[in-house]
Symmetry: C2
Subunit: 324 residues, 2 copies
């Protein structure tokens, strides 16, 4: 399997991306190609005593660039160079701007036939396993047809990535009853019931972490707010526990608490997840976190390797064949 | 100050509501009237060796009733009887159906002149003080004009309840930049800038608990999802800490952790807050939690007493005078 690795976008710098690609090659048997400034990459490879293919790209799209504009103008950026060469590769892993990856995916790689929009699913931790939140930020304004497409895309991903036969699909809403919600969720309820998925009804936000469904459908505005509220609140609660409980404990109790607390905090660590698969595009595109280290990059490669082996793209194509 | 106390809707039963009204009378100097079935209330008052005015109402609107329908049909319910008599009182406190309280407020009490909709603000705990989330569930579908009204109503409430001179108003959004968001938040941004409030810009959900603003504006769909996500996630994190950390500690460490953890968990307790003020109506209406005990009812009375003293209704009337 041939994967393009973006060397830009990591808080830890491009050496960390290169180390991640080396781990993916040595441990997973992947054939990596690095995308980035070869004047910077070559000396690092030399220092590390190894060789690797490079696609030279001297520019970078940052999170401050307007995505669609940057895709058109920054022709020598790592993301544009990667997308322009993607036909010769099986996947692209990047820690760069999510918006630019979505724009590049839509405008350069292109969507799978009958898929209206690319979408960003994110796994949310629950008491046992993950619930896939879809869309988690790609599509701010949606219609009912799009929500049904998110449900189908999420179902295929959950099946391919975890082998779940008929993933339970829920609609994020303010109440469980069919008549609850805003205009769009009310209408979506009946369309999701008719769709060829395992729709189990409305899900309230208070039940997200109880694993009441495998795929949770919402628009990208609400999904993004759920993710960021989760991030902020978890950090708020941990800091309150730190200053109001842990710091006040005796040294022996503190030591004991840390022993058990540290692995727990690690289970919430995004780096274990291995990046988020952009869905609906003709190619496998993984957005990894900017704070990724080499292991996170390797995990992203392992995740996309599984998608490739289990034929994610082909299964989405089949699922959308015959859609109007 | 004369307050109507709904005796229905408490998980702990009507005796707890009566005890709450007694506390409000004895500790706050409020003149309470109970609304409910006098055949049930009188024996309890007798047993407690006290007297209190009663408005007889033999029916109850439950959370399963469709609010607008129930308000029209259940003429002998505590909520309808309370609203029909509210002109003779200063406020109404109820643990009943939020939807029925909003419907009763809109259709029986009526809105303040130029206020388009009643709205439900909820204080969210932060590192220091509360941020008022408005709307937290009354209005599922909004337009830009409504969001601006929520900002004004929230600003007046924050001023009246906490004495903050120019409450900082934020717009809940997926990014801090002006061009971020869905169609409605993008348009709302410029209208909020023009409004006669202290608008400080977009706020991301990850910053809610950092007290970056005093009033946080969003539609009731998103607000309700934030509240319920917060509730579910806090309980999920605490249960993970319980089973993965606290239960594994030695007895002495466990005892020490509980000593500091219990007061912390209590600070998140809704019962300390004292209910939520429905805004935009001609009368002071407080929705208290169904799980309220007598102290929560008394706290709700204390909160509405402050609103009364500080002339919340008059200040909202002034703020909306001259609005189109």
């Amino acid at each position: 399997m041939k994967i393009l690795f973006d060397t830009a976008g990591l808080d830890l710098g491009l050496e960390e991306a290169i180390e991640g690609a080396i781990l993916a090659r040595d441990e997973l048997g992947i054939e990596p190609t690095l995308v980035g400034n070869e004047d910077l990459i070559k000396p690092i490879l030399e220092k590390l005593g190894t060789k690797m293919n490079i696609l030279d790209a001297k520019d970078i799209i940052s999170n401050d660039d307007e995505p669609a504009f940057a895709i058109r103008r920054k022709k020598d950026s790592t993301i544009v160079v990667a997308f322009n060469n993607l036909n010769d590769y099986d996947a692209f892993i990047s820690c760069g701007s999510t918006g630019a990856l979505l724009a590049g995916g839509m405008f350069i790689s292109g969507r799978i036939s009958n898929v209206k929009r690319a979408v960003l699913p994110t796994p949310i931790p629950t008491i046992n396993g993950n619930t896939l939140l879809i869309d988690s930020g790609a599509n701010m304004d949606v219609d009912v047809e799009l929500l049904v497409q998110f449900a189908k895309l999420g179902s295929v991903l959950k099946n391919v990535s975890e082998g779940i036969e008929n993933p339970r699909v829920g609609l994020l809403n303010v109440g469980v009853e069919e008549n609850k919600g805003n205009a769009i969720t009310k209408e979506a309820f009946s369309k999701l019931k008719e769709a060829d998925i395992n729709f189990i009804g409305n899900i309230e936000a208070r039940d997200i972490n109880k694993h009441v469904c495998d795929v949770l459908v919402c628009d990208g505005f609400v999904g993004n707010i759920i993710l960021k509220n989760t991030e902020g609140l978890a950090s708020f609660i941990m800091s309150m526990i730190n200053s109001n409980v842990i710091e006040k404990l005796s040294d022996s109790s503190k030591k004991e608490v840390f022993k058990y607390m540290t692995p727990l905090v690690n289970t919430f660590d995004y780096r274990e997840v291995g990046g988020v698969q952009l869905l609906g595009l003709k190619k496998l595109i993984v957005k990894a976190h900017g704070a990724s280290d080499r292991n996170a990059i390797k995990n992203a490669a392992a995740s996309v390797q599984l998608m490739h082996k289990n034929k994610l793209i082909e299964k989405i194509e089949n699922s959308f064949r015959g859609e109007i």
